[in-house]
């Protein structure tokens, strides 16, 4: 069993910096969990506390039902894949992969070496076999006798994956393993990692700052900010029902459009979109919304742009167009607000010219207003 329980786990560095604040999470055996968030949010620190590379200031970490706070990393049955591969530069690929297994042998040590026992020979042969099999799965058999400096970035990362795989741990930990690779290689390796998860069925905890990586890999994702868990849920939940403004703005590309508004009877008064703008609330949504300030969140793919006036559309000016081949991202000035729309290719839209923006509120979100903008919670809706 390789479930992981984090119970009010905290990390405070000497000097008072609180990197992780009371994180309570439960990961099921075999789940692929992605810890995601901007730099400095505490995701790597949390991962390292699970690994045992970082001391735990408060709370408990349990792996497979047993509290591991005081266990050294080698006794926690975890394997880690690092961002900069961390391959031993003076050892061949084969040696890199077998190193951990060699250290854990039952028949190691000088006595066994002197005795040259049969058991020792068998153990070494088994280790060799494991390394060869794993190398074959990852397609790096030809590289086994090379040194890391003779490998490309992608090859090194495969070796790093192999090194973790041979150990057959209860938990795999990944610390931004693909950040050093180019975009194409990253997508290729993402598929490899997913394949690895499918094959091993092991629990995997993966750290990244790339929300797209999180969305494509995760069974569940944990969005963090400033050491606090903002939301833990499936990618669909984090995308479709973000807990607060931060999660809404972090998950999904391009970033959600946020508009200051005031909720009134049956409508949203949004003067920033143009004097006197009132957006009608879709029927049935936000049935119990109190009157007062709120922030409207609309995803770019719910904003329509046309060169001609359309019913219900707002006057806008096209600031910039980013052509992406099969679609375009259009940056608009709507009143005093800036919005991004993701639309199909339309040659009639041109930078600097007038356009008409239609906002579809069907999948929009409303957030409380005031204080720390990012922490503003999403206002409950009929689906919640």
């Amino acid at each position: 069993m390789a479930s992981i329980e984090l119970n009010r786990v905290s990390k405070t560095y000497p000097g008072g910096v609180r990197a992780v604040k009371e994180a309570t999470l439960a990961f099921r055996d075999g789940e692929f969990i992605v810890l995601v968030g901007p730099s400095g949010c505490g995701k790597s620190t949390l991962l390292r506390m699970i690994a045992g590379l970082e001391g735990i200031s408060g709370g408990t970490v349990s792996i497979g039902g047993r509290v591991v706070n005081d266990l050294p990393p080698k006794d926690r049955d975890v394997a880690m894949v690092f961002q900069n591969y961390a391959l031993y530069p003076h050892m061949t690929v084969r040696r890199n992969m077998s190193f951990g297994l060699l250290r854990r042998r039952r028949h190691g040590g000088p006595v066994a070496w002197l005795a040259r026992s049969q058991a020792r020979r068998e153990e070494l042969a088994q280790i060799d076999r494991t390394v060869e099999e794993t190398a074959a799965t990852l397609g790096i058999t030809a590289l086994l006798d090379r040194l890391p400096r003779a490998l490309s970035g992608g090859q090194r990362q495969r070796v790093a994956l192999g090194r973790a795989l041979v150990r057959d741990p209860a938990v795999f930990l990944f610390d931004e393993p693909l950040s050093n690779l180019d975009a194409r290689l990253r997508i290729e390796m993402r598929a490899e990692i997913r394949e690895m998860h499918r094959r091993t069925k092991a629990t995997m905890v993966y750290v990244t700052h790339d929300q797209e990586e999180a969305m494509t890999l995760a069974d569940r994702m944990v969005v963090m900010r400033d050491g606090v868990v903002q939301q833990a849920g499936t990618p669909a939940e984090c995308y479709g029902r973000p807990a607060n403004r931060f999660v809404a703005g972090f998950v999904g590309m391009p970033v959600m459009n946020f508009v200051d508004a005031t909720a009134a009877a049956g409508g949203l008064v949004a003067p920033s979109l143009g004097t006197g703008t009132v957006l009608a609330l879709p029927p049935g949504r936000w049935p119990t919304i109190p009157a007062g300030p709120a922030t409207l969140g609309v995803r770019p793919d719910r904003v329509r742009v046309s060169a001609q006036p359309a019913p219900g559309a707002l006057q806008a000016e096209v600031r910039a167009i980013e052509a992406l081949g099969d679609r375009m991202d259009v940056v608009l000035s709507v009143g005093s607000a800036r919005m991004v729309a993701r639309v199909e290719n339309d040659a009639r839209l041109r930078e600097g010219e007038r356009a008409w923006a239609g906002i579809d509120l069907a999948d929009a979100h409303l957030f409380e207003a005031g204080g720390d903008g990012d922490a503003c919670r999403r206002i409950a809706d009929r689906d919640d």
């Binding site: 690994a51 590379l53 050294p72 990393p73 080698k74 975890v78 394997a79 880690m80 690092f82 961002q83 900069n84 591969y85 961390a86 391959l87 031993y88 530069p89 003076h90 190193f99 951990g100 250290r103 854990r104 890391p148 400096r149 090194r163």
Partner: protein
Amino acid sequence: MSGRRHPILGTACAWTLLLAGTAVFVYPLLWMLGVSLSTPADAQAATVEGGFVWPSDPQLGNFREALAQIGSDNAAEPLRGFKDALANSVVVAVLVTLGTVLSSSLVALAFARMRFRGSRPLFLVMLGTMMLPGQVTMIPLFILFRNLGWVDTILPLVVPAFFGNAYFVFMYRQFIAQVPEALLEAARLDGLGWLGIWWRIILPLTRPVTAITAVFTFIGCWNDFLAPLIYLQSDEQATLAVALNSFRNQYGGVTKVHLLMAASIVTMVPCILLFLAAQKQFIEGLGKGAVKG
């Protein structure tokens, strides 16, 4: 300056300087070689007048005669003295080199990577010991070793080497600081403790520093005259450096220059060989640049 505008002139300047420098360094060695192959009279003349002598008839027998006269007198085994001195030098130099490399790298790992209270002040204190002239500690150390009963053994020469050498600790530390932390973390996950990390990761990765440390320590120890003179009192214990002293007469003068030169050349050979062997190592290592994971 010449160089870019007058490539020929620039190269000529460089070559002139290099040749001049080489000549300055090589001349004493050639002088030694010349004197060692001369007759006693010619050698004495060269020494007194300071001229350069190159014998038309090289006296190769000088070498055998010199080695026979080193150290203790033993008619039955003429080269006994030389062999003893050679063995002593080798044992002491090898042990000191080993001790210095092992202890300095270990201490440097602690300073570079271990976080403990007082680490910084301790490091500065250690650096401070580099400012101490050896002469200041000579007498207190002798008293210490005499009280321990270690005089006339090689222990006073060898044991301190196993307690770290500030200069080399500093060098190792700078090098170890370049090793990525992730590498040590991976090692920890693989089950290594500090000693394992030192032996299997740090030492292999700091080979250039080890080469430098070994060469300088060996040569320094091989040539060390003062410490063996003080602590090794019997003839059988003497190292080569001390044994060469037997060519001086009781007034401190040198009458058998040709033999002294011959013996000195023989004494130099191991150091030259060691340097040639290690040279490839540390030049190659320094060229590799920073260690990447």
